[in-house]
Symmetry: C2
DNA sequence: TATTATACATACATGTACGTATGTAAATAG
DNA sequence: CTATTTACATACGTACATGTATGTATAATA
């Protein structure tokens, strides 16, 4: 078989990831074999083992390709918590990021794979600790956000920022988990995301920013 | 090998479920083989295939053994939403049920398996639709609860009960998911469950029940 | 232009996991 | 007390899935 050019190789790299995504969502990660991924991408297993070490590495590559921009946006949120309307800015940033999971199809797919098609066990795999680190980043960023909000006096509760971060992250996790879930009776974040987020954020943040007075 | 008495058989049934639980949590459902379960329970695969059709049937049996009591308690909650303090009763019932997941080890284990060690894909398996039905029960019960609370005039929002149910279920799901998660930085529901639940319930329910005035 | 590294395809070896079929000793039914 | 069913253990066949080793035509390189 003919050797491909560098751009061709990158194209097959993405085709493999796309094929993997489709199969993971359709039939699950555990039940998807590397042969199936290769066949779905019109290749052989040789291509997969050239680009990735194993199935877990495929998932990590998927995260790096599609979810890193969410992580970056999440980090940049911190700088937006500033006068004159820190609470409102935080509110907008949170909504924007939660909705991006629904509006960005590729991002939504990885989030769905990570939330619905992965096992988290006591025996830590490399993939698991990879994802745990990402989660840790999210949590510490969120905690820092609450520290900043507290410093600006726009919090309605006196709970420690760590617990506020946990609770909001739990709520967001639940919302996204539901909206990306297969089957019926799921949340439509596109329609109701703003209302549902406001419902909880109203309990955390002051109605009007002090700095805006 | 000697045939066991009826009580002996039931004992091995439970031993198999216990062994499966341990292995599922330790190394995951997909990576746990039926031979391993049998070995962990000091039996052979013959015992498993006698009591269960396959691995998925083991999980369903686990649910029926340990999670049905939660489902029942959840249904009975509806009757507790009554004057003179419907909102307070609802609050107490929700807390009781969420905390039971932490306090009842066997219940917590199945919830953890279902939340962290199961795949939910587009191709519906029997196990998946089994669990979807259970979820549907929870959701409709919760929705009925909000209809009742609304009828008693103790809701602070005018959002439809369906959305209120979705949002509270999302939050609860997120809390339990975090508290049952392996690794660090998880919520300790035993310690903070009440506070964290109140944080959200305060946004939904009136401060003091009208009927109590 | 000769060489080398690349981007895969193909071939091979191994190890399991599953479902089923069959064996069997004792409990239970009649 | 005999016959039958129960509650498993054992044996069997099959099907893959994985990882690696090797082959190879062609870009890239010098």
């Amino acid at each position: 078989m003919a050797r491909k050019t560098k751009e061709d190789a990158e194209r097959t790299y993405h085709q493999l990831l796309d094929a993997a995504t489709r199969l993971f969502i359709r039939q699950g990660v555990a039940k998807t074999t590397l042969s199936e991924i290769a066949k779905e991408a019109q290749m052989t297993r040789g291509a997969i083992y050239w680009h990735f070490d194993n199935k877990d590495a495929v998932i990590m590559a998927l995260w790096n390709r599609n979810a890193n921009r969410l992580q970056q946006a999440f980090n940049e949120m911190l700088s937006e918590i500033a006068p004159p309307t820190p609470a409102e800015n935080f509110r907008v940033a949170i909504k924007r990021m939660v909705l991006s999971v629904v509006q960005d199809p590729e991002l939504g797919q990885i989030m769905r794979i990570v939330m619905h098609n992965m096992e988290f066990t006591d025996e830590q795999t490399e993939l698991q600790s990879f994802l745990m680190n990402k989660k840790e980043e999210f949590y510490s960023t969120m905690e820092n956000a609450f520290v900043a909000l507290d410093g600006m006096g726009v919090l309605r509760t006196n709970l420690p920022p760590e617990k506020l971060a946990s609770s909001l992250m739990s709520y967001i996790h639940g919302l996204i988990h539901s909206s990306l879930s297969p089957g019926m009776r799921n949340i439509d974040l596109q329609k109701d995301g703003e209302i549902l987020l406001d419902l909880f954020l109203d309990a955390l943040l002051v109605e009007y920013d002090r700095s805006a007075e």
